[in-house]
Symmetry: C2
Subunit: 400 residues, 2 copies
Amino acid sequence: MNAVAGGDATGGGGQASGVWGTAGPGNPAAGPVMKYFAPTARIRRTPFTEGVEAAGVSVYTSYNHMLLPAAFAGLVEDYRHLKRAVQIWDVACERQVEVAGPDAARLMQMLTPRDLSRATPGRCLYVPVTDERGRMLNDPVALKLAEDRWWISIADSDLLYWVKGVAFGLGLEVEVSEPDVSPLAVQGPRADALMARVFGEEVTQLRFFRYGWFEFEGHPLVIARSGYSKQGGFEIYVTPGDIGMDLWRALMEAGDDLEVRAGGPNLIERIEGGLLSYGADMTLANTPHECGLGQYCDGAHLPGVIGGAAILAEAERGPARQIRAIEIACSALPPLEAPWPLMDGGQRVGQVTSAAFSPDHGVGVAIGMVERTHWAPGTELVVETHGPALPATVRASFWS
Amino acid sequence: MNAVAGGDATGGGGQASGVWGTAGPGNPAAGPVMKYFAPTARIRRTPFTEGVEAAGVSVYTSYNHMLLPAAFAGLVEDYRHLKRAVQIWDVACERQVEVAGPDAARLMQMLTPRDLSRATPGRCLYVPVTDERGRMLNDPVALKLAEDRWWISIADSDLLYWVKGVAFGLGLEVEVSEPDVSPLAVQGPRADALMARVFGEEVTQLRFFRYGWFEFEGHPLVIARSGYSKQGGFEIYVTPGDIGMDLWRALMEAGDDLEVRAGGPNLIERIEGGLLSYGADMTLANTPHECGLGQYCDGAHLPGVIGGAAILAEAERGPARQIRAIEIACSALPPLEAPWPLMDGGQRVGQVTSAAFSPDHGVGVAIGMVERTHWAPGTELVVETHGPALPATVRASFWS
């Protein structure tokens, strides 16, 4: 079994070598042996898993205790298709934390340094959520459904537990729960064309990070112009889950001539776009300013926010390190399974936390956390991959 | 790639068919196509991953945002070896929540319905942790290191977020953190022999669920007689992480003639033993009484426990459903990826949440949640696997 998997992952050639990373025949940057993903009820199937498996998912990851498809035909082939056509993504793992009740708005503003006074129904807001020390607990998207009812669409940590704990401890009058809501994303340049066929032309009028209510099989659904790619598209907050496969099939059928395919967040494309991954690019060790999220940390309300004092103090002195785009000179990269040190001579000055070889840019694209002394654009460093050490340059911005 | 994986998982024959489940040549219960596990920094490597991979891990799962090995030579071969010899398990994913400070003991007793007045340094305590509605947030093991310093060794949910949130909301004087502590388990009938060689005879004097302090390379380590199997053994709370591989190698070298191997929690063996898995066998939807944990819910302190009132109320009226051992009549089972309904005629009366074919018992062994009307030992039901429907019987107890 191992031998079989090893042959696939490290470049035995043929179709198999392309499923993950850039490993290919004779490629010295070939990665570690790929492992199988254990079947278990503990990592939940989604309302769309049936469609995902019928579409031939080949690589999974787990995210918020749910299955998240990571590759179908292969990381590179999926990437090219995403940039050219349109894909349906099972992102049910973006679970919602619903905060409802008389104290909902008050609690929401305590949870994030972002000023929510401009939040109105119809807007999506990217909101850092910090602990009492001003450290990142999650970087979700908040949707105000009504003054007393909000959804927090979460990244990969049990934010439900934090919000419930705080609400309990403070004795707030709110219900905090995980509702039966499973996002399905439609991403790619042909997303507007496909969505119009299923939900009507009106859906294409949505502006970026705005949402509206649209109907499917008699159920009102939140649809937002958003998603974890830079190719444009929508996220449909599907509820209840048992209409999931009907919607999946409706989109697949309507998009046949648009070359619609099943897909998922694509490692290469999201790095090119500078889309951060909580748990990889930032953790509970980091502050919003370190994550380049200072723009979401202003306002007179900050002293009342959990962790607000620490965030204000850091804003004054400036962060000691910050997330940067990193370009790696290479013709292939092994898969990154743990942070790769960024070195200046013998000195460790940061780390790369997401990396992949970009076919479109012909370089390694990466996200890293770099010390203030070395974060200026153009700074030349060395990245110690688990394979070869490679030249790396700090960039001023991401690729798209 | 898919075709290759499919051939392995659904019984192409040879060594490959044995890696997961009981699928074999000509077996109609063959399971779904196995998928690969995506490499990512978001699901962390442990201090022992280097050893795990050198030992030929073939199947991974993720647990508390970390890699957890699920199979090496294969589920059945690993199972037979575990019952016969001794294995080293990378269970670093059993992360610790450290609660330290003047209010630590007070907070700990608020977190669990279990009476902690008998907790003393040297004891491990299995403690249900419930939310304000008395619903299960996690089922960890608590270690009192001192009156003002505790570890909570957690199952698969971010209990850190709950404990931090409650402590913040209540304004308690405690520090709640995840320390650099990574459990390594030594499990199997030869565990005492192996541990004595590395830590001295004294370690074998530990009684079940007691811990002591032992030294490795000058570092004092907590070692408990505990672990997620019924074959006997120990858990070593390894800190700091950078001594992890030295300890791994020391155990492997000392156990060569004992046939020591790398292993991990084994699906078949843990079901036979009735060891529950949070997120599968119980979730936030369940109460301690439903999980058969009523024995940990007594004492005059209950009204002061978070969720205590709900727990008391349920103790009075009795739970509506409860976890039971379920025997399935079959000669093979497909892998369980989502709960399987338990039916009485056309009526759904429960669900199976963990299941595997047991070579030693010659039946399907399973854990299920069954309605009160149907939970009596001997009740005959039908379990709807994703493959065939099979006869299932409620048992009075687990197999070992």
